[in-house]
């Protein structure tokens, strides 16, 4: 009996927790709607955000934009994309910067500013909540939770 009650209690707890997870909006990668890119694979997104490749397939320069460490979407984005913690992302960029190879993507303070960046740069690319994407941008990759 107590065991069955435990399962019941566990189920109720699970149901209570569940909606909270669903409320969390889906994070997506968006590009400027006029840049000609329709969809990207995970590896292509990694190549752009880690500075390995700076051009889309059609030759347009990719202009990625990032968020500061303090923004929760940054942690979610790199966690979902490569399974890395922010300290590891920052370690990667300190290697690129101090070896003189390249500077990291520009950082803006909020999702609204990410959207603004993507719309105002021909090759703009950033990550935002799906709910925030409008007709001026195109969703090219969805980060599976």
């Amino acid at each position: 009996m107590p065991f069955r009650r435990l399962i019941l209690l566990g189920s109720i707890f699970w149901l209570l927790v569940q909606p909270a997870a669903e409320v969390r909006a889906e994070l997506v990668v968006v590009v400027n709607a006029r840049c000609g890119v329709a969809a990207m694979t995970r590896n292509e997104v990694i190549n752009i955000f880690f500075g390995r490749n700076r051009q889309y397939f059609n030759g347009i320069e990719a202009q990625p934009v990032d968020l500061p460490d303090t923004h929760p979407d940054r942690l979610r984005f790199y966690g979902l994309l490569v399974g890395k913690d922010l300290s590891e992302i920052n370690a990667y960029w300190s290697r690129q910067v101090f070896s003189g190879r390249m500077q990291p993507p520009a950082k803006v303070g909020s999702a609204e500013e990410v959207l603004k960046w993507v719309v105002s740069h021909p090759g703009g690319i950033g990550f935002i909540d799906l709910a925030k994407a409008d007709a001026r941008v195109r969703v090219v990759y969805e980060l599976a939770p």
Partner: protein, 412 residues
């Protein structure tokens, strides 16, 4: 123990560690406006540093980070070999042009922490995936060689010595070109560089001037998802002879036969390497192999490598690895071709390395942009393994020691 004590063995002229501490102080003051690094402005200022302590279990040799260091550490804790401070100013002049200047203060060939301009170059991107640089540049003889001092950027306390001891070269006056090409879902990167080396290598109380020695090299790299594979080649043609007579305080005329035999002037040394990196989720793993083909009888050719793996759990990343280096007499040398001379024998003995190292440690990402690391290295080698060390007591050294290290790395 005072902090100044930790920096002893620097030149008497330079008050121990004062320079480093002054730089560290000013760096800490400038940590506050770190927002500069995050703004979209044309000028970015960034810095990196390490305060590191190390000790070994023997005083028979002194342990160094690489052979650019004239003295090393023994049984007493010392901050000499791993402490560093670097500052970089990068100015984006236009979307295509960028100027970068970086200064580094670390224990160097002349036993001081005198800051060096490590890089000063102009970068030009005619297209987004083509980069051309000219000026004073870092050299990538091996993978990660140009970020060896940025402790925050890697897992271990210092890059494995068995792999990097032989690489005291840091910069060239010259130019390089790198091109990135999309290949499937991966990226193929090719880089080539040419220039004249810049610097000095300590040899006992003297220095070997390698400035003006031509260097040439390049690599081919493929990166896809978590995988990175790179093959590289580089060479250097030494401009000067080793200062052997000066070191041994013998008139050169008395040992001219040995000096001719050990000449490095005009000798070309070749560096080959192969690296594989896997970096995904909590896992990080690296396998690196190198072969160095020395062009002079004074230095032995060698093979080295390391394997390293780490697994992150929250803010803690335990890691472990194994490295090795083994050098061999130059092929074609036999007892009849080597001058029957104590000097030649001594110098050749000095360039021998034959050892293996097991290491294990932990990286702790304490707060944003600060990591604390603790590491143990168990060096197990032959008594003849002398090349990587300083101030050896050949009669007593048995090739075995443990190294304990504790560092705090930061970037800002």
């Amino acid at each position: 123990m005072t902090i100044a004590n930790l920096f002893r063995r620097v030149a008497p002229a330079c008050s121990p560690g004062r320079l480093f501490l002054a730089l560290a102080g000013s760096a800490l003051l400038s940590v506050a406006p770190h927002v500069m690094a995050e703004s979209d402005s044309a000028l970015s200022l960034n810095g990196f540093g390490t305060f590191g302590l190390a000790r070994t279990t023997t005083d028979d040799v002194e342990f160094v980070r690489d052979i650019s260091q004239p003295r090393g550490v023994g049984k007493d804790w010392s901050a000499l070999i791993d402490s560093v401070l670097g500052l970089q100013a990068a100015w984006r002049i236009s979307p295509q042009f960028e100027a970068v200047v970086q200064a580094t203060s670390r224990y160097r060939y002349d036993r001081t922490f005198t800051p060096d301009i490590s890089w000063a170059f102009i970068k030009y991107n005619p297209t987004p995936n083509l980069s051309l640089r000219a000026g004073r540049l870092g050299t990538e003889f091996f993978m990660m060689a140009d970020s060896r001092w940025v402790g925050y950027s890697f897992l271990t306390v210092r890059p494995p010595g068995d792999y990097f001891w032989y690489l005291p070269f840091y910069s060239i006056h010259g130019a390089d070109a790198a091109i990135n090409l999309s290949l499937g879902e991966g990226v193929l990167r090719t880089k080539a560089f040419y220039g004249h080396s810049n610097g000095k290598i300590p040899l006992a109380d003297e220095q070997w001037d390698i400035a003006g020695s031509p260097m040439l090299g390049g690599y081919l790299e493929y990166q896809r998802g978590p995988w990175q594979v790179r093959a590289s080649y580089a060479n250097i043609k030494f401009k000067n002879d080793l200062p052997i007579a000066t070191v041994l305080k013998i008139p050169p005329a008395n040992i001219s036969e040995a000096l001719n035999f050990l000449s490095t002037r005009g000798a070309r040394t070749h560096y080959y390497s192969l690296g594989v990196v896997y970096d995904q989720g909590p896992w990080q793993a690296q396998l690196m192999l190198n072969h160095i083909d020395q062009g002079s009888n004074a230095l032995e050719s060698s093979d080295g490598g390391y394997a390293l793996a780490g697994y992150r759990m929250g803010t803690l990343t335990p890691y472990s690895g194994y490295s090795w280096v083994r050098s061999n007499k130059q092929p074609g040398l036999n007892s009849s071709s080597v001058p029957q001379n104590e000097v030649a024998a001594y110098v050749m003995q000095d360039s021998h390395a034959d050892q293996r190292t097991i290491f294990a440690g932990m990286r702790w990402d304490v707060v944003r942009n600060v990591a604390v690391k603790a590491q143990w290295d168990g060096i197990r080698g032959e008594a003849s393994s002398l090349f990587p060390y300083r101030q050896d007591n050949r009669a007593r050294w048995d090739g075995r020691m443990d190294v304990f290290s504790l560092t705090m790395d930061f970037v800002f």
